[in-house]
């Protein structure tokens, strides 16, 4: 009897947790992708090209990073809030939300000394 009581408690708790989790995922719907701008970056010899790409302000856009080096990289930016591994000779894309105008610093976390770049949003 006691065991049963415990299990029903557990079940309720589990249900509550799942409910909370579902709440978060259903209320937040993926942004509809419009014909957004694409910012293309390549990484070669541990340098970004272009090192100062531009993006339109206040509208969503896509960042595409192609790694032409034979070593993996991690595209990272604190201010853009992204952190993503780019495999050797791989390409990743990132769906960015609308950004306020400004200069956003990014880099390859494995080669931060040579890979600094700035995304100019205007």
């Amino acid at each position: 009897m006691k065991q049963h009581y415990t299990n029903s408690h557990r079940f309720r708790a589990l249900a509550l947790s799942l409910f909370l989790l579902c709440g978060v995922t259903t209320f937040s719907q993926p942004a509809v992708s419009q014909e957004a701008a694409i910012v293309k970056l390549t990484l070669k010899n541990h340098r970004f090209d272009p090192a100062e790409p531009h993006a339109p302000a206040n509208k969503p856009f896509t960042i595409e990073v192609s790694n032409l080096d034979g070593t993996p990289a991690e595209f990272e930016s604190k201010t853009l809030r992204v952190e993503k591994v780019v495999a050797a000779n791989g390409t990743i894309s990132l769906q960015m939300r609308a950004l306020a105008p400004g200069r956003y610093r990014f880099f390859d976390d494995y080669h931060e000394d040579t890979t600094e770049g700035f995304l100019v949003v205007q």
Partner: protein
């Protein structure tokens, strides 16, 4: 060499802290050594797999496979940590009693060991996959001479990570055992909340969570979360120098849910209640 050392050390701090906490929490439970080292081994193996198949993972789910994978395993860790705390709230006293009566090794705690082993595996896998990728990059790309010194740097970085584990463990086991349960419960709840908000950050990056995206504050000027102290606090209490509102909401919600469940499942007081 120093660069490689710092990069590797930065990545292994989180795993090092978590392994140390898991070891302190399971002190005295029979067989914990197998579970924790098993967790580390699975984590290392998983990290190499992730490193090897990073391209496949990235390409999955329309390009957000990496984010979903990270968020997924972080959620598993959060659930296991919550489960551990709830379980200890119920059985902590039995363990303490058994420990006093039977000396050091007790069997009661075995069912929580698996959960913590999973947490250890997840922590090692997540941080380890970045280390694996970085070291792999060094091995194939550098000039023969420099590769060696970079590799040495990486290995020293790993050793320092193990030192963090030892420090964490050594610090925690100094706490008198009647306070230990309270301290580790708080520690684990904060750890879980921090990991939950990290999962949110990945889901935001994947555009799965779009609610409350605004940055709450920017304290990178005061304490950057890429500095060593920032990393430690990032792991221990989920410190972020630029959290989104949603991250904060989930952080608080995770703490609240764990506290609530611990209360709900707490061992009944010695005098049986009339319920």
């Amino acid at each position: 060499m120093l660069g490689a050392l710092i990069i590797v050390f930065r990545e292994v701090i989180e795993a090092g802290l978590i392994v140390g906490i898991a070891m302190a929490v399971t002190r005295g439970i029979h067989g914990r050594g197998y579970y924790i080292s098993g967790g580390v081994a699975v984590g290392v193996f998983g990290a190499c797999l992730v490193g090897a198949f990073i391209n496949t993972i990235s390409g999955a789910f329309e390009g957000v496979g990496q984010e979903l994978f990270n968020a997924g395993i972080l959620c598993v860790a959060v659930i296991m940590l919550a489960w551990h705390n709830i379980w200890m709230a119920r059985h902590g006293r039995e363990i303490a009693v058994e420990m006093r009566e039977a000396g050091e090794a007790v069997r009661t705690g075995a069912s929580t060991l698996m959960g913590l082993a999973v947490v250890v595996a997840v922590a090692v896998l997540r941080e380890g996959s970045e280390v694996a990728l970085f070291l792999y990059g060094i091995l194939i790309a550098s000039a023969p001479g420099s590769a060696m010194s970079l590799l040495v740097g990486g290995i020293i970085g790993l050793a320092l990570g193990a030192f963090v584990t030892a420090l964490t463990y050594g610090g925690l086991v100094r706490i008198p055992s009647r306070y230990l349960f309270g301290v580790t419960s708080v520690l684990i709840a904060l750890l879980a909340a921090g990991l939950a908000s990290q999962a949110v950050a990945f889901l935001e990056q994947a555009d799965v969570i779009t609610l409350l995206p605004d940055q709450l504050w920017d304290s990178s000027g005061i304490l950057s979360d890429t500095s060593i102290l920032g990393r430690v606090l990032h792991t221990l209490i989920g410190y972020s120098d630029h959290p989104s509102a949603m991250e904060a909401v989930i952080y608080v919600a995770t703490l609240a849910v764990i506290a609530l469940l611990m209360k709900l499942f707490a061992h009944p007081a010695p005098a049986p209640s009339a319920r």
